[in-house]
């Protein structure tokens, strides 16, 4: 546990000094949110929940997917960047030589990535609320558990495959290619939960997505911890 925290701290400290990952993610997420909110008809999300006008329902259905597409791609950019920074700075070699359990390496790296993703979300989501004209109090409190469970899943997949694609040609292309179909349940789940919140103001029967997302998190955190040694081994 102490090792895991030390590893995560190493990533955060390197980021605080070098600022090589989080700013890229944040700017990328903001660009995407800005661009994609053009798709929403003006004022469609302004009407109060839980009784939006009929014409605005479609916009709310779409809004969740727009937000999570932005977050997903910002995440992928960041996860790849964070693994590349490790490789270029030879931190990956050092960690490989250190007498540390690969599962701890994975978990530490995952926590670092999760922190970067959270920073990006903390800026991208308010921006989305702003651009889409959503009354903040109707979305933000309910969105917190969604963000938590979905970000964990994205970071779990992204950390594993970020490291995995480091030694491939065209690695910046390989990472999204591998991550997208595997992370699909997270993207769909988080989008549906967000849209439901925008339409009804509560999760209702769509709350079952939380179970699916949690199962996803558990599966991929376990898989990452178990298989990370094969991914980083020389």
């Amino acid at each position: 546990m102490r090792t895991v925290l030390a590893l995560a701290t190493k990533d955060l400290r390197a980021e605080a000094r070098g600022k090589q990952v989080a700013p890229v993610m944040v700017v990328f997420a903001m660009c995407l949110v800005f661009l994609l909110t053009f798709a929403l008809p003006p004022g469609a999300l302004r009407a109060p929940v839980p009784e939006p006008r009929a014409g605005t329902l479609a916009a709310r259905e779409i809004a969740g997917l727009l937000l999570w597409t932005s977050i997903f791609f910002a995440g992928v950019i960041g996860f790849g960047r964070s693994a590349t920074v490790d490789r270029e700075g030879s931190a990956a070699d050092g960690l490989l030589l250190a007498p540390v359990d690969p599962a701890a390496l994975y978990t530490g790296k995952m926590i670092g990535n999760l922190a970067f993703l959270t920073v990006a979300e903390l800026l991208a989501i308010p921006l989305f609320v702003l651009f889409a004209n959503i009354p903040p109090r109707s979305l933000l409190p309910g969105l917190i558990p969604v963000v938590l469970v979905a970000s964990l899943g994205l970071a779990a997949v992204g950390t594993l495959f970020g490291a995995a694609t480091q030694h491939a040609e065209a690695r910046s292309l390989m990472l999204p290619l591998l991550t997208f179909p595997l992370a699909l349940p997270v993207i769909l789940g988080a989008s549906r939960l967000t849209s439901t919140l925008l339409i009804k103001g509560e999760f209702g029967s769509e709350g079952r997505w939380f179970i699916l997302l949690t199962v996803f998190d558990v599966i991929f955190l376990t898989l990452g911890a178990v298989t990370f040694e094969f991914v980083i081994e020389e």
Binding site: L160, F161, H167, A168, E169, P181, P185, R192, I219
Partner: protein, 237 residues
């Protein structure tokens, strides 16, 4: 010259498929509601079965490779992924050809269709990774991780695409494969095609494994040649 049992199997298989085609077009009765279009089922369903089988083999061989480090497991996993992607593509294309006259659209966001497409993308990613892996051993290990992760995510993708479209009445389509009362000829034909496709899968698998083994042998010979003939002319290095 040594007699190749694989070649003989291929010849038998070619004859089998000709007989199969004749059976599909001249022997099985035409389905009452869908007409001739239903006959594509005899290619569509077996290719789906082979695709799932192939990806299951990728999973098993990937685990075996990570546990033993024996390259032969990796060859089988790699070969099976290639074959699986091929049959998934065949399954998707035949499904769309069937969907156009029966559903009125090539593509419907039916959960099973979507799941198949996601599987196709996952293993296409697997193959793309293998083609781009710069280091043989590491590439094989990481590919095994992808092969395992790809299969683990299948039930989750299944639920997510099912729930995503859950509110829409997309399930009111005719589903010949779930109809319990198929006439005997149709059942026999389907089972025969399943068997032929499985054999075809095994032949593709064997050929592909042989190719991968040859590639490895060639690389070994080249490095051996390197060691013997150094220093080499610049164009070879």
């Amino acid at each position: 010259m040594r007699k190749d049992p694989l070649l003989l199997t291929q010849q038998l298989l070619a004859a089998g498929f000709l007989a199969g085609l004749a059976g599909i077009f001249f022997w099985v009765p035409t389905e009452a509601f869908q007409g001739v279009a239903q006959r594509i089922l005899y290619v569509h369903a077996p290719s789906a079965w082979v695709a799932y089988l192939a990806f299951g083999v990728v999973l098993v061989c990937s685990i075996a490779y990570l546990r033993t480090g024996d390259m032969r497991w990796d060859w089988v996993a790699h070969a099976s992924a290639r074959t699986g992607v091929l049959f998934t593509a065949l399954n998707l294309v035949t499904g769309m050809l069937w969907g156009r006259p029966i559903w009125g659209a090539y593509w419907a966001w039916d959960p099973r269709l979507t799941l198949t497409l996601v599987l196709f993308l996952i293993y296409l990613g697997y193959l793309a990774f293998r083609a781009n892996a710069s280091d043989e051993g590491r590439g094989a290990r990481i590919a095994a991780v992808i092969g395992i992760a790809g299969f683990m995510v299948v039930p989750l993708v299944h639920f997510s695409v099912d729930w995503w479209r859950g509110q829409h009445p997309s399930r009111t389509v005719i589903r010949p494969e779930s109809d319990p009362a198929l006439p005997a000829e149709m059942q026999i034909m389907l089972v025969a095609m399943m068997a032929l496709f499985t054999l075809l899968y095994l032949v593709f698998l064997a050929l592909s494994v042989r190719l991968l083994k040859l590639e490895t042998d060639v690389m070994e010979l080249e490095s051996l040649e390197d060691a013997v003939l150094r220093p080499r002319p610049a164009r070879y290095s």
